[in-house]
């Protein structure tokens, strides 16, 4: 039997493609290397009950995967560091049915019009291959609107003065503001910033057969026990209900077969270790910006840009100790954000010039706390001071923080390729990440870090501290490994086959019936979480395949 499509990856991109294609009558298989904890195995149209408020299970024991013992990645900051300096967890996005959608805390902002046209708006940057996207905001807007309804996004219309135009309202109103955010929002506003309720894929009211979020607080890095989060459960359930999907968890896609520049299907290894071939008219790769180029390289595709331009956001983390409880354990982990540090101002333009840059951009700033006790405990020393520190809780109970998801530029030296030695448990070469932030990221972080600390002091902070990920020290230290999961850019989209791997619709220039439907295709990283944009692009690519239009 030849399927209409094999979709590799069941995360937000793959689930969206499955939803659109099955609605158009296509028969598809979804290949997912991780386990299924998202859908009820006895009825795949219903959510499962595996997720829970369990810090050991989700934070310490790799419940969502990938487990670095069986799926290791390797890292080095540059080729000068040898084959690798680290083996283990590198930019790990969950390896499970639902993919990265399961662990995210659901902030799903749209990009802004300028994010798609950096070169024409601001100009080039030395050392980086900054380019305009082959589509603009207006072209993507109908797909943004469709997937906001599909995923279920809560937001406040008109609250962000910097937002791009919208064709309709948010599907749901914003949820309850976290207490700490009410204080940080007021402080930021006093200093002239423009915070707003984060567009969030967590139901504020019952929506699409799923309940309203009940503010349990176990959001970031946890699957949602009540499925109020707009992870891919919504799209997958709809696709399953058509009866036209075969979901294949614990199944690894090891290669795409081609004949004369057309894909004929996908080789997979199943849960029992047995290899099989899934014949298909189309192959959709939606495995994420590290696993997608890995699969293309394992398949022998040889476009020289496959894997190049890895971006993952340069995170500036600014924490402050408050003289009051912040109650960060209650609510959706992050309820407010601000865009001012993407947009910039006279001071940031001056800082860029002084730093030798033609322009610079920071990123979305998330207002949040730190709510987990095991995480807190491991930040304190052991011994006699431990009980007092945990009881007083300067981190869990009294800390407030800003995380700036700083836009990192597309450097050709930052890349994903196949490690020459390290393998996964199935015997396939592991993905190797080579990543080092550049001058742009460091200048932006140095400029905005103190400004974020000033907001914390305006809140009443007794102390503040600024760090970043990746760290700024020894390139061979573990701190050099970026912790961000916002991986993008390794299979660049563009009109010119010489400077891009896929066309503006996500089709590979060299093999046109292979479509990439995840954040790999991003041309630049913007300063926003990638999920909604990758989902909108996946919906667009799927509609192009199916010959349909967004609802």
């Amino acid at each position: 039997m030849t399927l209409d499509a094999v979709i590799v990856g069941s995360g937000p991109g793959g689930a969206t493609v499955a939803d659109v294609l099955t609605a158009a009558g296509w028969t598809v298989a979804i290949v997912e290397k991780g386990r299924n904890h998202l859908l009820d195995p006895d009825d795949l149209t219903r959510p499962a009950s595996d997720f829970s408020n369990d810090e050991v299970k989700f934070r310490s024991r790799y419940f969502l995967g990938p487990d670095p013992l069986i799926e290791p990645r390797t890292f080095r900051a540059s080729e000068d560091d040898g084959e690798r300096t680290f083996v283990g967890e590198v930019n790990s996005v969950p390896s499970t049915v639902g993919g990265g959608g399961t662990h995210a805390d659901g902030k799903v902002p749209r990009f802004r019009p300028d994010d798609f046209r950096l070169v024409s708006r601001f100009g080039p940057q030395d050392g980086a291959d900054v380019a305009d996207w082959p589509l603009d905001y207006d072209e993507l807007e109908p797909y943004y609107a469709e997937v906001e309804r599909s995923v279920g996004v809560a937001g406040t219309d008109g609250a962000n003065p910097f937002a791009g135009p919208r064709s309709g309202p948010f599907p749901m109103p914003s949820g309850a503001p976290m207490f700490g955010a009410t204080v940080s929002v007021a402080a930021a506003e006093r200093l002239g910033y423009h915070p707003y309720p984060a567009p969030t894929a967590a139901n504020s009211v019952p929506y699409d057969g799923r309940p309203a979020c009940n503010n349990c607080g176990f959001c970031a890095f946890f699957g949602c026990p009540i499925h109020a989060k707009g992870d891919p459960v919504a799209m997958l359930r709809r696709a399953m209900a058509t009866g036209r999907v075969e979901l294949l968890p614990e199944t690894f896609a090891s290669g795409i077969r081609t004949v004369q520049n057309r894909a004929t299907g996908v080789d997979v290894v199943g849960p029992d270790g047995a290899a099989r071939f899934l014949a298909a008219r189309h192959v959709v790769v939606a495995a994420g910006a590290i696993e997608t180029p890995r699969l293309l390289l394992l398949s022998g595709f040889d476009h020289p840009l496959i894997g190049r331009y890895l971006m993952t956001h340069f995170q500036t983390i600014v924490a402050g100790g408050m003289p009051f409880r912040t109650y960060a354990e209650r609510g959706r982990a992050v309820t407010h954000v601000h865009d001012d540090m993407i947009v910039g101002d006279d001071a940031s333009r001056q800082a860029a010039a002084e730093g030798g840059l033609p322009w610079m951009r920071g990123g979305l700033v998330e207002h949040s706390g730190a709510a987990l006790p095991i995480l807190e405990a491991t930040h304190y020393p052991w011994g006699s001071a431990h009980p007092g520190l945990m009881a007083d809780s300067p981190i869990r109970a009294r800390l407030w923080a800003f995380i700036m998801q700083g836009e990192d530029l597309p450097y050709p030296t930052n890349r994903v390729d196949l490690d020459p030695t390290i393998r996964d448990a199935r015997g396939f070469p592991a993905a190797r990440v080579t990543y080092r932030a550049g001058r742009h990221e460091h200048v932006a972080s140095d400029h905005y870090g103190p400004r974020l600390a000033a907001i914390l002091k305006e809140m009443g902070a007794e102390w503040t501290a600024v760090t970043s990920s990746p760290g700024r020290g020894n390139a061979a230290s573990p701190e050099a490994v970026p912790e961000s999961r916002h991986n993008v850019g390794t299979v660049r989209m563009g009109a010119d086959p010489a400077s891009s791997v896929v066309d503006p619709q996500g089709r590979m220039h060299d093999v046109e019936n292979v479509v990439v439907a995840d954040s790999s295709v991003f041309v630049t990283s913007a300063g926003y979480g990638p999920t909604l944009t990758l989902v909108a692009l996946a919906a667009r690519a799927a509609h192009v395949l199916a010959g349909t239009r967004p609802a």
């Binding site: 386990r35 009950s49 595996d50 997720f51 829970s52 408020n53 369990d54 810090e55 050991v56 299970k57 310490s60 024991r61 790799y62 419940f63 487990d67 013992l69 069986i70 290791p72 083996v87 309850a176 503001p177 976290m178 207490f179 009410t182 979020c213 009940n214 503010n215 349990c216 607080g217 176990f218 026990p225 009540i226 614990e250 849960p271 270790g273 409880r325 109650y327 354990e329 209650r330 609510g331 006790p373 095991i374 405990a377 491991t378 052991w382 011994g383 006699s384 431990h386 009980p387 007092g388 945990m390 009881a391 809780s393 869990r396 109970a397 390290i422 393998r423 996964d424 448990a425 015997g427």
Partner: protein, 187 residues
């Protein structure tokens, strides 16, 4: 009766955990909270069926709902490979040594506890701390697990009677109750 450790090893482990997270006027120590049981339970996770690796969901029953945490997940074949390798080590088995030998937690604990010495429990606090500081790699391993045992869900064997959470005013798993909007915004 320990699950995997010997009685003597368990005694040293319990004393070492108490040294890391001691009882004080600010809260109970690791011994009262059963932290050693957490570690011993991890080392002996495969003594149970299903193995005690991942507690179930979606609720524990403490805030309503069923006691789902008590139903541990079955592991898939590749999950079992990962966790047996992590706990038992690679033991020269080719399927566990695709990237070379792995020293398992059982061996690391057996060696670490042995290095602390049979007389560890007879030492005063300063003596115990000195022994732990002499092997920072083992102390770091043990401290990470001790924190999990003290402040993790009690279904894993530690946090006995919720002593860890109660000492720090942490409500723990709150599903299916959650928090009301009022409790979130105006606590």
């Amino acid at each position: 009766m320990p699950v995997w450790l010997t009685e003597e090893e368990y005694r040293v482990l319990e004393a070492a955990c108490e040294c890391l997270i001691p009882r004080s006027d600010r809260g109970p120590g690791a011994t009262a909270a059963g932290v050693a049981d957490y570690v011993d339970g991890l080392l002996g996770a495969f003594s149970f069926d299903p193995p005690r690796i991942w507690a179930g969901g979606p609720t524990s029953g403490r805030m309503g709902g069923e006691a789902g945490f008590a139903r541990f997940h079955q592991l898939s074949a590749i999950d079992e490979l990962a966790w047996r390798t992590r706990i038992e080590g690679s033991q020269s088995l080719p399927e566990r040594e695709f990237n070379g030998p792995v020293v398992g937690l059982q061996e690391r604990y057996r060696q670490g506890l042995d290095a602390l010495g049979a007389d560890f429990c007879d030492l005063d606090v300063r003596g115990r701390e000195a022994r732990l500081r002499a092997d920072t790699e083992f102390a770091d391993l043990l401290y990470g697990h001790a924190c999990e045992g003290m402040y993790g869900a009690p279904e894993y064997g530690g946090n006995r009677d919720l002593l860890g959470w109660r000492a720090i005013g942490f409500e723990g798993d709150v599903q299916p109750r959650g928090w009301t909007d009022e409790e979130v915004t105006r606590p």
